[in-house]
Amino acid sequence: MSDPTRETRHTRDLPDRLARPDALSFTLYVAVAAFVIWCFQAAEMSVTTFVEGIPSMGRLAGEMFPPAFGRMESIGATMLETFQMAVVGTVLGVALSIPFAVMAARNQTPNKAVYYLARGVITFMRTVPDLIWAIFFVITVGLGPFAGVLALTVDTLGFCGRFFAETMEEADPGPQEALSALGARRSGIILGAVLPAAMPSMVATSLFALEKATRSSVVLGLVGAGGIGIELKAAMDMFDYNEAATIILSIFALVIVVERTSAALRARLI
């Protein structure tokens, strides 16, 4: 270490600081960087405008206070109804997501064709907008909660399917290797090694999906199933900011409860 000749030898042996990119990657890097810079310019951002505008933000916030708790009871009832549908939609969506995720996880899929197909279906589910799903289901099963639940299920599938797949891809390969070494089938490896590794993340994703379904329940209104989302929209449309504030706070409370549940479950699992 103190011998200078040795140090020279080391300098020679030092690994490259960065893997030298090939021409294609290099071009890609530069192109992406240039694109991002261009995007930033197009966004017409300005810190001064932002800072100058902060006082007017306060004005709007002021309009929302104090929240109007007068209709709390009916808001509570709607919340409960919405949450009910969200629970059903999420449970179904999560249940469907698991097999889809297995097929869409690069290291679990039975073969490449299934992988691309499953990925495609999941992606498609979330690219087609809610409104279209809502119309689809309302035409299929008629107005009401059932159509709403189906719309939420599809939403959840598009979301959880992808995240479950990604979590499964990240699962530690060691235990999986051990199970394949002892002749376990795919189902055995998934149940025995992949799911236990993915479980905390899957719990978090599922409860996020539940929360998301509750928050974005506007879709329920499209199918005549009510929902707190549409109430909030109504309050906003009627310029009833104080009532909107109440609804937002109620949703916030529910979301906090869901999130704490998630945290508690995960704390046990991790």
């Binding site: 530690d172 394949s180 089938r185």
Partner: protein, 291 residues
């Protein structure tokens, strides 16, 4: 004793150098016959295994020794195609491993117990569930794989396997809350649960205390004697190789240096085998770089 690559191994179909010595085994079936195994990780790296081969007979134990990074673990993995060898011929229990697909490959693997160097337990499951996993290949219903749902008969069997490695009282513990040696033993118990016909054990005694290490090696020896199970184990503890190996296979930088009956190995003269590799061979392919 100066160690040189064993040229005979390269000849396809020929026995390893220890072959003449293993004549007493001739009447026994060859449980595992490996020839010309070659493996490199990533195209821009050096060969990790070069033309490696050996024979393992029924009820025989083969100790694989070699320096760190000489390719022992890689060789064991390749034999079950947990990693795909680049070339080679592997016959396991009379079947061609390289040609096996899907269920056939699984059935072959099910006959081999594999104790991994890093144990590879499922961290969030209980010790008992981990042991139950050993039975996955022979019991196809998922309820058999978890201690909460498995039938009593199976749980008792798993507990007995744990007992054989002295861990029956930790059956309910989560597998990631074990000491190093305890997790090693659970990995061994899982292999026992598998009822294998052959055991591959990658440094099975490395984290065990001296008594436990002997016990585990004795356990393997007993399986060999009583049930004709072949054992292929790697170790750095030469007394273990000497005491529990019928034959010793020495690897050096991916090549088989020798494969002899244990009596013919001079354990005090293995310095060469463990000599550090000559520094930075310029002809050697470049390592890939990482942050």
């Amino acid at each position: 004793m100066s160690v040189q690559p064993a040229e005979t191994v390269a000849v396809p179909g020929a026995h390893a150098p220890g072959a003449a010595a293993s004549v007493p085994h001739a009447e026994r079936a060859a449980h595992l016959n490996v020839r010309g195994l070659r493996k490199r990780y990533g195209t821009d790296e050096a060969d990790v295994l070069q033309n490696a081969g050996f024979l393992l007979h029924e009820g025989e134990s083969l100790a694989v020794i070699g320096a760190n990074g000489s390719g022992k673990s890689t060789m064991l993995r390749c034999c079950l195609r947990l990693i795909e060898p680049d070339a080679g011929d592997i016959h396991l229990l009379g079947q061609d491993v390289m040609a096996a697909r899907g269920p056939n490959l699984r059935r072959l693997r099910a006959q081999v117990g594999f104790v991994f160097q890093r144990h590879n337990l499922v961290p969030r499951l209980s010790v008992l569930s981990n042991v139950l996993h050993g039975a996955q290949a022979r019991l196809s219903s998922p309820r058999n794989w978890f201690q909460a749902t498995a039938p009593a008969r199976l749980r008792v069997e798993a507990l007995a396997c744990l007992d054989r490695v002295g861990l029956a009282d930790l059956a309910g513990r989560r597998a990631d809350r074990l000491s190093g040696g305890q997790s090693q033993r659970v990995a061994i118990a899982r292999t026992l649960m598998q009822r294998p016909r052959l055991v591959f054990a990658d440094e099975p005694a490395a984290s065990l205390d001296p008594t436990a290490g002997e016990e585990v090696m004795e356990l393997f020896a007993q399986l060999m004697r009583d049930e004709g199970i072949g054992v292929l184990f790697t170790c750095h503890d030469l007394t273990h190789a000497q005491r529990y190996g019928d034959r010793v296979l020495a690897l050096k930088r991916g090549q088989v240096m020798f494969d002899r009956r244990v009596g013919e190995v001079d354990f005090d003269q293995l310095r060469d085998l463990y000599a550090p590799s000559p520094s930075a061979d310029p002809a050697q392919p470049q390592e890939p770089r990482h942050v």
